[in-house]
Symmetry: C2
């Protein structure tokens, strides 16, 4: 059994009860562990995300070496999306004392400070760290104990996102000495190896803009965002872990755990056979879409620095979750009042949940999807089965779906309880009270400019845009998208050619797929983006272009980023501002 | 039969078909009538709202004099809320030519230019106007023909909101001459009289801040906005017409017109007897709440200039609309696909509609209400029966409810098709295409500061707020409310003591009534406002206080007013900014 399989298998064991224990532990730890100066605070919060899965595994696989390695991967994956950008402000607060006289440490000493010890050491290169105080604040919880007593490098060589100065800086706070030269081989301490769970990841289209390779996080280029249906191979990829190596679609099993603990299983073939098939055109958007704009306009944020392309649209085909739940025995008309949430678990151990009302809403259109744009789901997008939760942040549309759990509580995964939340602009990465913010579900109104094209008067006859718009003077044609969560329709897109001083309305393009009876603004089923276009006479252009959209509850986008800054950089939806530049490109 | 009764009776006749005709007419008129200069444009749009009721009546009651007077009132009421503030920019464009040599006109000449004529004259004082060109653009459509051939003053003496320079200015564009002195009595032309339909309006609490008397529009004073349940007599009053004179609660009839035209009737006594009773604590908010802030920060807006008090909260008791509809024969599980909207009609002829999905949603909590804060509904709030549509703009919670219609289209009333909409900041009152904006239903996230209290360090021991907060230095305690439509919970309130440079989170007070199973952010049933409070050390205070709230879809308020300016001044929800003033009062 390879490392990834071990991890997956172990993570499933006792997930729920252990996850609860872990949350309690985390609270206790915050109260009882004395911080080691201000930098500790900053560091601990920066890293203070934890996988339920990791902890569960640490209790059930004490003697499994390969499992230990795999769990290390899980833990490392837990960090992967949390460190896209330096938290410079926090690190700047680190005390800058001269190090104590360097102690030399024998390798066997490091090995002794393993999980059986009271204090936990790791090494990287020839430098040794006592991470005891770090353990309770670690994203993977006690999973970190699997790595202690040895080298961090095998994990970090796989989850390469760790190989950044910011991570090193945090680790450096725990420096205690160097490996004794007598234990070095060719000047290095022996590190061991782990199997790469990403080795079976699929090839990706070269046009995607890669933000991280392992896990794969790649956005759709602007040139492809003008297509109402994003070409499948250009659909942005946002993976939290590796791509599970599933090959037989029809035998892949979905387990539904009912509220009384009973389990009902369906193969994908069962789903196709037993239930009516539905197709929905829906946009998925990462909560980090436009994060780089927030970072640029405001302050550093903690996560992958997406541009405007962490959003794409496809036609998804599958069966209604509501129908499957009814078949499995859930009363979808009047469910048990204690059932509050529906949890999804992916084959790679990713977990998230949605409110039960959304799951069973006859207008909620939550699907179990096996087809994307009339083709089988690609592996990167959840082959052979994924959830589609339209109108919610994409993090709830769990890929490689293997289990559904009806529950009285949210998923205890970090992706539900931590990462996908927003705090106030004053709340630093160093001290969030995670419970005070709700998990992102429906997303706020958003828009972006994806193309800026200058049309010159002397080339009007050859120019298609000029013909479409009847342009008779030098003009700039802007294109983009607008999207709101919760099925709320986009009712207006305002564009300013002069930094927001004056505004005009963009033309909303009529390629929106209409589901439901009317497709009217009253149906709350606008699951796909609106694309828009506007032509501005060049004489009106001054300063920056701005765009903002309005949804059918008349919610609007904030003017600027700083007042909605959050250290995770989630839901960056201030007006999109694009400089008027000579090369006609948005930046 | 008095004038108001006539109006009410006539308005009901043939409402639907005539309203459709009227909408078509309005389109035709806009195309075919040549404007009389720029001022005409500005004026016509300013007045370009129309009552379906008025037109319907004009076709069915040609020979009823008292009805004609009453209909004039309806028409005038149609104007009442549209003229709260001068549209100075529009009026500034009026041509300023010297008047032609004044013609003297005999009174009998005016009388001849009545509705049987090709041209229509009215007079006010001794000045005569040819309003022929105005007729097609009139809010009441052809109802204005009831007034032509005579004096405007009887109407304007009742709908006193007309007695403003802006209205006079518009009228003055149509001046043609003066009444011949031979026809004046004591220097005046005889005006006739109409019965005052407001004469039976109830007394109101003197503490309410009155914006108009007839119809009554009065806001809750800030001193009462700190109460979670607004005292009933301090609940803001927003009437579009007079208060119907209903005295017998139990015999008041509600007619439900099914989609096939069949009608089912219930008395209020029937409702109480047949259906389960529910109570919900819900906030109602006028779309004009905080309109004065938009006006002050941006430009003149067209409507009553409400401050922060066009919002209040009560506990409402009644029966579920869903249950009543089911009893009346509607399939509330899977309604006929052609039924898109549910229209409400009030006894005074006010009309509005909501999407059918909201009406039948088992979590939508739409009630037919007969009790407010455990007492019978006061007359100003809909006695004996009103709709409560929680999470929607208050204009949909129709008072004095007399009829419900299941329909394939929205209400054709001006309150559905015109007034309660928002356009872009560049769209002037002179040229809106009303069909391009959706009727306001769910409202965007909103918040306001309602109290600013300075707490001095030398008075800490006597100060309750100081004790509550453990204040040890000079501080400013701010209080306020936050509210979002659609049942979306308020998840955070950010307060800045320095014009938005830095922020802190206010304490959300735990007096929210919880309906539904959990009251959690996942239930979309947050029908009541959140009140909040925060203490700021005086040393941190600089410039203005600002407040902004975030709802559970992470929608936020815009930073400033100008980018969301709309000529009607609806949904003014930019950050509330309050100067730091010596008298500790928000302004």
């Amino acid at each position: 059994m390879d490392a990834a399989s071990w991890a997956t298998r172990l993570l499933r064991a006792n997930r729920e009860s252990l996850a609860r224990w872990q949350v309690q532990q985390a609270r206790v730890c915050r109260l009882t562990f004395a911080p080691r100066g201000r930098a500790f605070h900053a560091g601990s919060a920066l890293w203070a995300t934890r996988t339920e899965s990791g902890v569960g595994a640490s209790h059930t696989a004490r003697s499994q070496t390969s499992a230990g390695l795999a769990l290390g991967l899980v833990l490392a994956a837990g960090l992967a999306y949390g460190l896209g950008t330096p938290i410079r402000s926090a690190l700047a607060e680190a005390p800058n004392e001269p190090p104590a006289k360097e102690r030399l440490i024998r390798l066997h000493e490091v090995h002794e400070h393993n999980r059986s010890s009271d204090t936990y050491w790791v090494f990287r290169g020839d430098r040794v760290y006592d991470v005891t105080d770090w353990v309770p604040n670690h994203p993977g919880g006690e999973v970190i104990l699997r790595a202690v007593g040895g080298s961090l490098e095998p994990y970090w060589n796989i989850f390469t996102i760790h190989q950044k100065q910011d991570v090193y800086d945090i680790l450096e706070q725990y420096f205690i000495g160097k490996i004794d030269p007598r234990d070095l081989v060719d000047g290095k301490a022996p590190t061991g190896q782990v199997e790469d769970p990403f080795k079976n990841d699929p090839e990706r289209d070269a046009a995607l803009i890669q933000h991280s390779a392992r896990p794969c996080n790649s956005e759709t280029p602007e040139s492809e965002l003008g297509s109402y249906i994003t070409p499948t191979e250009k659909f942005y990829v946002r993976n939290h872990l590796w791509v599970p190596d599933v090959h037989d679609a029809d035998t892949h099993r979905l387990t539904i755990e009912l509220f009384d603990g009973e389990e009902v299983e369906y193969t994908v073939a069962d789903l196709r056979k037993k239930f009516k098939e539905y197709s929905i055109t829906a946009t998925l958007q990462c909560s980090g879409n436009r994060r780089s704009h927030m970072t640029q306009a405001s302050r550093p944020t903690n996560g992958l620095q997406w541009g405007v392309g962490a959003i794409s649209t496809a036609t998804w085909t599958g069966v209604r979750l509501r129908d499957v739940l009814a078949d499995a025995g859930v009363n979808v008309q009047e469910p048990d009042e204690d059932i509050k949430h529906l949890k999804f678990v992916g084959a790679e151990a990713y977990g998230a949940s949605i409110p039960i009302d959304k799951a069973i809403d006859r207008h909620g259109d939550v699907l179990l999807v096996y087809s994307m744009n009339a083709q089988p789901l690609p592996r990167d997008h959840g082959f052979p089965l994924r959830a589609l939760v339209p109108g919610h942040v994409a993090a709830r549309s769990v890929k490689w779906l293997s289990k559904i759990v009806l529950s009285d509580e949210e998923s205890t995964s970090q992706w539900q309880r931590r990462d996908y939340k927003c705090f106030g602009p004053n709340v630093g990465a160093s001290h969030p009270d995670w419970n005070t913010a709700p998990a992102i579900q429906e997303t706020p109104v958003q828009s972006a400019i994806t193309a800026v094209r200058q049309v010159k008067a002397d080339r009007l006859e050859d120019n298609n845009l000029a013909r479409v718009y009847g342009l008779e003077e030098d003009s700039v044609v802007l294109e983009g998208y607008a999207f709101a969560g919760g099925g709320r329709h986009i009712v207006r897109v305002d564009v300013s050619p002069d930094r927001g001083r004056t505004w005009m309305q963009a033309q909303l393009l009529e390629n929106g797929a209409k589901v439901g009876a009317s497709g009217s603004p009253d149906d709350h089923r606008a699951w796909a983006w609106k694309q828009w276009r506007v032509a501005v006479p060049s004489t009106q252009v001054s300063g920056k272009f701005c765009v903002k959209a309005t949804d059918d509850s008349y919610n609007v986008q904030p003017d600027t980023f700083e007042p909605t800054y959050n250290f995770r950089g989630n839901l960056a939806n201030a007006w999109h501002r694009v400089p008027v530049s000579r090369d006609d490109k948005p930046t």
